[in-house]
């Protein structure tokens, strides 16, 4: 057992756990942040995606010890029901969520991707960016639309 201090969604937290516990389990079990989901536990599905120092990672593959002193952002840190991020709003508007279990990972991955570009991406670009996130319900079509919608809105609000 070890005390691990890190920053999650802008707040400093301190948890006592085995340094070999996955970041995903720390978030879900110790930090009470259950937005990030476990689906495969092997880095295959992306439903556990969080930002580690602004870079999207599979939190099921990151160990607690590795985040000591680092910055983590989960879906809860992207936006809330009262104040949704444009990506979240676009997912709702376009119907890009069905059962919703894959959605938090996709929101985090999409947010990171849109932050890194300054244009409305083409379908192939989005497909490359989100290739690591599995969704069994939607057939991805509305996810592609949602990312484009969010990008367009983001761009027009920047131009204002």
């Amino acid at each position: 057992m070890k005390t691990i201090d890190f920053c999650v969604n802008g707040k400093n937290v301190s948890v006592i756990c085995s340094p070999a516990k996955t970041l995903l389990d720390v978030l879900r079990e110790d930090a009470g942040l259950t937005g990030s989901k476990e689906c495969c536990g092997k880095g295959e599905c992306g439903s556990c995606t969080v930002l580690l120092n602004d870079v999207p990672v599979c939190s099921c593959l990151v160990l607690a010890g590795q985040v000591e002193g680092e910055r983590v952002v989960t879906v809860e840190g992207i936006g809330t029901k009262q104040a949704m991020d444009p990506v979240q709003q676009a997912f709702v508007d376009e119907g890009a969520t069905q059962c919703g279990y894959c959605t938090p990972g996709l929101i985090v991955a999409s947010r990171a991707y849109l932050t890194s570009i300054g244009h409305v991406p083409g379908l192939d670009e989005i497909k490359r960016a989100l290739g690591g996130n599995l969704c069994r319900c939607t057939g991805y079509t509305k996810i592609l639309q949602a990312v484009q919608t969010a990008a367009a809105r983001q761009l027009s609000s920047r131009e204002l």
């Binding site: 476990e38 949704m84 969520t97 059962c99 290739g131 057939g139 991805y140 996810i143």
Partner: protein, 770 residues
């Protein structure tokens, strides 16, 4: 019916649960954590088929941090479950029939301790030779896996005289088709939690597709009054039929009885889910189809064998539905059809979107494509010539009494850009060694349960303190968005804002029994039940408003989100909040119910296992593929999905189903298969089970045909399953169009396509004159 009459029905209303899903605020059952929570784990069998000689749990029990170790001896009630026949033991006692069989349960302070405890349980097995081939299982040489034998069910439908028709036919096709063991691969694996409440109520929170039935199965195993059990089955991180059967509910219930009132949680790893979870039935389909030169199909003979694995679950219903649908939406006068659902030691198969129709549609629609080619007819013309319409008699011999949209879907297909310009699209290859092709297929899927099974819907409608309404329907939202459709229907009929409607689903304490979320039935059935509840609510509101203002009820009118009482001195507004308080003070109920029985056919075809159904949804798919002749890889580039789902209540939701179904169908046709060897799973997790990703997503267009089914809510039918059916044959037909090879063994992996291309090369004579 024009959409413009409506405020919500027929509109692209975004999901009402969208905001809580995209923010991660929605709590799924597997998300709950409690200070005093304990972890449950399941010991699964080490062998696909073995006798259990002895189980020793003493070392596990002695481990510090272990609260309970349970075996079959600790089951207070009946040691079995299964939707139709409870042939699956909750905890195996003397024999295991698949590696998913549970033998013992552990509850412990941590997951690690629970896992360690599992390793300390010693089971003394006598391994037996597993039966891994369904055809072999049906022979005299195979030992019986169940007392009743290895054939769980045998269904037949006969109509006309096939022998005579075959002797008179101009052309006969005869082929055998094999289909894979698809995994549901819902993103949330099976899990949940249970707790014995201080008042003695047992609460089980576990995603499922029919809370009331799950509760009965739990009650039977625990010998407990169902009224003392509350099952909450919503929300669900995906199901597709895979959470229709009991998953871990009974394990949670048993463990919760032994943890001193502490909540117990189980959440399967993906690896355990692969082994223990049900799959789609692999089928062998032998089909012989006869036609006349002009394209009239005159006979179809089918023998289908479904491998249900160790236990029946819904296997009997799956093979029955397959046989009912195996002639397609056509009127073939002479048919001879039979299906077998057979026990083996290959895991367990059960309900899965499409429910047996996928496997047989692949066969009949491949034959349609072959006939069109051999008779030199347009594939759409050939189908149009043979489809039935409302009022016609189907192949299985019943008169279609509800709406039939096949012809309209085919006409739409004919006019769509992809089909009209198919010659151009074929030429547009991305590399010289790649070939493009376009394929089409059409199919149908029954809505509702069929003859012999109760099929009713029920809904509650409650006026709340703040003047809003709570709609309660037992049917869960397994992802399809029926909750949003329920809100649309209620808001439309109550003439209130959709934001004044909340929906509760899948909770035996909060909703009344409304049947399962299967058979594409929940929009139709739940929607009708809400429509039946609304007049009762309006009566309740009107009467209260009349009393409040001392007028006759006929002098109360409905406005937007409020009522008006017409009095001599003018109109008086009554808000729903006022009415709630009036009724509350008088201790009068503010909740009403609505009930609906699904219409059924009167007579069952003897031996068919429940055919015919009364209502069907129809769909035509067109796809464009590109086959890489060097690697055998196939890419699906475009999909056009043309459903007849009746009136579309929410186009966005319908498209979502059509897109999701298409991609799931692509996975089924091209790569998905849970491989098994000698009863063991060779496929273990998502590392070796290939699911379609966003990269493989083609352009998908959905063009619903304009139709309305008189009996449905606002004219709707159902959509959940048919969306992934015709695409299977549409893809294999497109592969043929591209590369000239017929794939009859799915999935159409690069290896199979490559081998077929090589075979084709070897058998094509070289023309020296060229």
């Amino acid at each position: 019916m024009k959409n413009s009459h409506f405020k919500y029905v027929g509109k692209r209303i975004p999901r009402i649960d969208g905001p809580e899903k995209v923010t991660g605020e929605l709590k799924y059952m597997t998300d709950y954590q409690f200070e005093n929570m304990v972890w449950g784990k399941v010991l699964r069998s080490s062998f696909p088929y073995a006798r259990i000689k002895h189980i020793d749990t003493s070392r596990a029990e002695a481990l510090a941090g272990v609260l309970a170790v349970l075996t079959h001896k600790d089951i207070p009630g009946f040691n079995g479950f299964g939707i139709v026949v409870p042939d699956q033991p909750v905890l195996a006692s003397d024999v295991v029939r698949c590696t998913g069989d549970a033998i013992a349960l552990v509850a412990a302070e941590t997951q690690e301790i629970a896992e360690h405890a599992l390793s300390l349980i010693h089971v003394d097995y006598e391994p037996l030779t597993p039966i891994t081939d369904a055809e072999f299982a049906m022979t005299d040489r195979a030992p019986f896996l169940h007392e009743s034998g290895n054939i769980h069910s045998h269904v037949t439908i006969k109509n006309g005289d096939t022998e005579k028709a075959f002797s008179e036919a101009d052309i006969i096709l005869e082929n055998t088709f094999y289909s894979p063991r698809q995994m549901h691969a819902f993103i949330e694996t099976e899990g949940g939690w249970g707790v014995l409440e201080p008042d003695g109520m047992l609460t089980i929170r576990c995603p499922g597709q029919y809370a009331y039935r799950d509760r009965l199965q739990i009650a039977r195993a625990l010998a407990l009054n169902p009224a003392r059990i509350r099952v909450i089955s919503n929300p669900i991180g995906g199901a597709f039929g895979g959470k229709d059967e009991i998953t871990v509910q009974i394990y949670l219930a048993l463990l919760a009885l032994h943890t001193d009132g502490r909540p117990v949680k189980i959440h399967l790893s993906r690896e355990e889910s692969v082994i223990a979870g049900i799959k789609r039935h692999p089928f062998k389909v032998q089909m012989k189809t006869a036609a006349r030169k002009d394209g009239t199909i005159i006979a179809n003979q089918v023998r289908a064998v479904a491998d249900t694995g160790a236990y029946a679950s819904l296997g009997g219903a799956v093979i029955a539905l397959a046989i009912e649908h195996c002639c397609g939406p056509y009127k073939i006068p002479n048919v001879d059809l039979e299906g077998f659902c057979v026990y083996t030691n290959n895991g367990i198969s059960g309900a899965f979107r499409g429910f047996g129709v996928n496997q047989v549609c692949a066969a009949i629609e491949t034959h349609m494509d072959m006939l069109a080619e051999k008779l030199n007819l347009d594939p759409i013309e050939l189908r149009k010539k043979n489809v039935y319409q409302k009022g016609d008699t189907s192949s299985i011999g019943h008169v279609l009494k509800t709406s039939v949209g096949t012809l309209q879907t085919l006409e739409t297909a004919e006019k769509c850009e992809l089909w009209k310009n198919r010659a151009l699209h074929k030429k547009d290859i991305s590399e010289p060694w790649k070939k493009r092709g376009i394929g089409l297929a059409t199919s149908f899927h029954a809505v509702g349960m069929g003859i012999g099974l109760p099929d009713y819907g029920a809904a509650t409608l409650e006026l709340m303190q703040d003047g809003t309404f709570k709609v309660g329907v037992g049917c869960e939202d397994i992802g399809g968005g029926n909750g949003t459709v329920y809100a649309q229907i209620a808001a439309e009929l109550l003439n209130c804002s959709i934001s004044s409607i909340s929906v509760v689903q899948g909770d035996t304490s909060e909703t009344i029994d409304s049947g399962t979320v299967t058979a594409s039935r929940s929009t139709y059935t739940g929607g009708k039940a809400i429509a039946a509840a609304v007049p009762n609510m309006i009566r309740l509101l009107t009467e209260a408003a009349a009393e409040i203002h001392g007028v006759m009820p006929e002098n109360v009118l409905m406005g937007d989100d409020e009522l008006y009482a017409l009095k001599e001195d003018g109109e008086k507004t009554v808000t729903y909040k006022d009415i709630f308080h009036y009724l509350y003070e008088k201790h009068r109920p503010t909740k009403v119910e609505g009930h609906f029985m699904l219409p059924k056919e009167q007579e069952e075809f003897k031996g068919s296992g429940g055919a015919p159904h009364h209502l069907y949804g129809y769909l035509t798919h067109i796809v464009l593929v590109e086959v890489d002749t060097m690697t055998g890889e196939t890419d699906v580039l475009r999909v056009v999905s043309i459903p007849d789902a009746g009136k579309v209540l929410n186009p966005q939701g319908l498209e979502g189903q059509a897109e999701g179904g298409a991609v799931m169908g692509i996975g089924y046709t091209l790569y998905e298969d849970v491989l098994m060897e000698a009863g063991y799973h060779k496929t273990t997790n998502f590392t070796n089970y290939i699911l379609p990703t966003i990269r493989e997503t083609p352009i998908i267009e959905t063009f619903p045909v304009d139709s309305a089914e008189e009996t449905g809510p606002f004219g709707a039918k159902g959509i959940g399953e048919v969306v992934m059916i015709p695409i299977i044959a549409a893809i294999t037909n497109a592969i043929y169009d591209a590369a000239g090879i017929r794939i009859k063994h799915l999935p159409a992996t690069p290896e199979r396509i490559f081998a077929a291309l090589k075979e084709q090369e070897a058998s094509t004579p070289v023309n020296l004159n060229e």
